[in-house]
Symmetry: C2
Subunit: 247 residues, 2 copies
DNA sequence: ACGCCTATGCGAACACCGTACGCTAGGGTG
DNA sequence: CACCCTAGCGTACGGTGTTCGCATAGGCGT
């Protein structure tokens, strides 16, 4: 008789159901999903695995989350909540430091959750969760106070966000490849170097760069590369501010 | 007897096998994959569907491609081949136009293949296919000729690539959401506006921006936003060049 | 001309995925 | 007490990437 067994409610299940909590909630699900993603990466996130971690069946999640896609949107907005956007900091010409701090915080957030790299391109900034909108508003205020006129502040903001995300996503993708490979960064770079050697043989400029960076600390190089671009960027924005000021 | 039927070789199959081509090749597979992605998007790409389009069984592809992941790497490198990087253009102070042309070409490429947005974050720039390395070398030459010293040219290049990719990926994600929704851009924006209205009620700056852009042509706004950031960026790089020149 | 060898295609099968559906149990409300 | 509504779950379906072993056919050595 294939009709379902009565879904035998073990004492534990009954106890859990009884009281304590609703046992499952969108917040719990999203929080656990972030933990799972941090620990095991994007490929390990399935409704079944997430359900198991929550001591629940896979399909139970659908009572609180419409689909896996929606779950991912929620997860992305969740980590946007970790951003630290400086508030009113008095001096309006401190905008450079404030924006740099923002950028650094965004980069740190993505590197803390490297799986975000594979997911930001699908979600985009289009889906506006509460955290993202809140942080955007705060960040926009930075540019307003810096002196950008209304129609330009959001462009300036989008511009620096785009830079940070583009830069960091590529870092994160590299790091997650590194993690997948199971090698140390030294080993991987040596391997890449060997593989690339032939391809790069007649590409002198790339080769030059390769050699130049050979002995350096990769993590420091990444930090410096990020800072370099950010400085150029802020210089350009500052120049624009000056031009506006001189109208 | 469950052992396979002799896989009856229809006349057609025999004919096709006989001559013409090896019938399947990595190039054919990659090219068809790009076509499929352009026409039906990233979700429609499966080994089975791609095999069908090629008149082949799904598993036949594995003779020419190690895995779907590798296929995606190949596909990404394939479209990098579409980039147009200006070569020797005489005047070394034409670097601004050259880099801007590069950036525009990269943006156009991504917008031509919007699925790239969801894929660039997974592949990153880490996997260096022949096209990507070749184009990087050419682009690097631009910065060298502009006057950036060896250790800085690649940073400058990565910086502007990061900006372009970050900016365009977010555009592409938005556009693909638009396409999925099946609405016109006007309708979608009106819908978003209504949904966002309440959330944005007490976020005056975001609201201001929303209202300001209400009647404008979205496509032109995107172009202008991209150009705005790029100009700021190039200004910053130019300033750096000047500082270097004055050493 | 024959027979082997290797490269190529493919069908079946496996493990896993997202998710629709209908059932159950239990607490809250009349 | 009877009722309903909600949260959880077992089952099942269609689809996925990939493995494996078999069938085939062309090229090559003899």
């Amino acid at each position: 008789m294939p009709t379902g067994k009565p879904a035998v409610p073990s004492v534990w299940a009954r106890q859990r159901n009884k009281r304590e909590q609703p046992a499952l909630s969108q917040d719990r699900i999203v929080a656990e999903a972030v933990r799972l993603l941090d620990e095991e990466g994007i490929e390990a996130l399935s409704m079944r695995s997430l359900g198991t971690r929550l001591g629940a069946g896979a399909t139970s999640l659908y009572r609180h989350v419409a689909s896996k896609d929606e779950l991912i949107e929620l997860v992305v907005d969740e980590i946007y909540g970790e951003l630290e956007v400086p508030g009113e900091s008095g001096a309006p010409d401190a905008w450079r430091e404030s924006v740099a701090a923002c950028a650094g915080s965004l980069r740190a957030m993505i590197l803390r959750h490297p799986w975000a790299a594979s997911v930001l391109g699908q979600v985009g900034l289009a889906e506006l969760g509460p955290n993202l909108t809140r942080q955007s508003e705060r960040m926009l205020a930075l540019f307003h106070r810096a002196g950008f006129p209304a129609g330009e502040a959001d462009r300036a903001m989008n511009t620096v966000i785009a830079y940070v995300i583009g830069m960091t996503v590529s870092e994160a993708a590299y790091l997650s490849m590194l993690a997948r490979s199971g090698q140390s960064e030294q080993e991987l770079m040596e391997g890449l170097r060997r593989v690339a050697e032939e391809a790069v043989r007649d590409l002198p400029l790339l080769r030059e760069g390769y050699d130049e960076r050979a002995g350096e600390d990769p993590s420091r190089l990444r930090d410096e590369g990020f800072a370099y671009g950010l400085e150029r960027f802020l210089d350009g924005l500052q120049a624009r501010l000056d031009a506006l000021g001189a109208h």
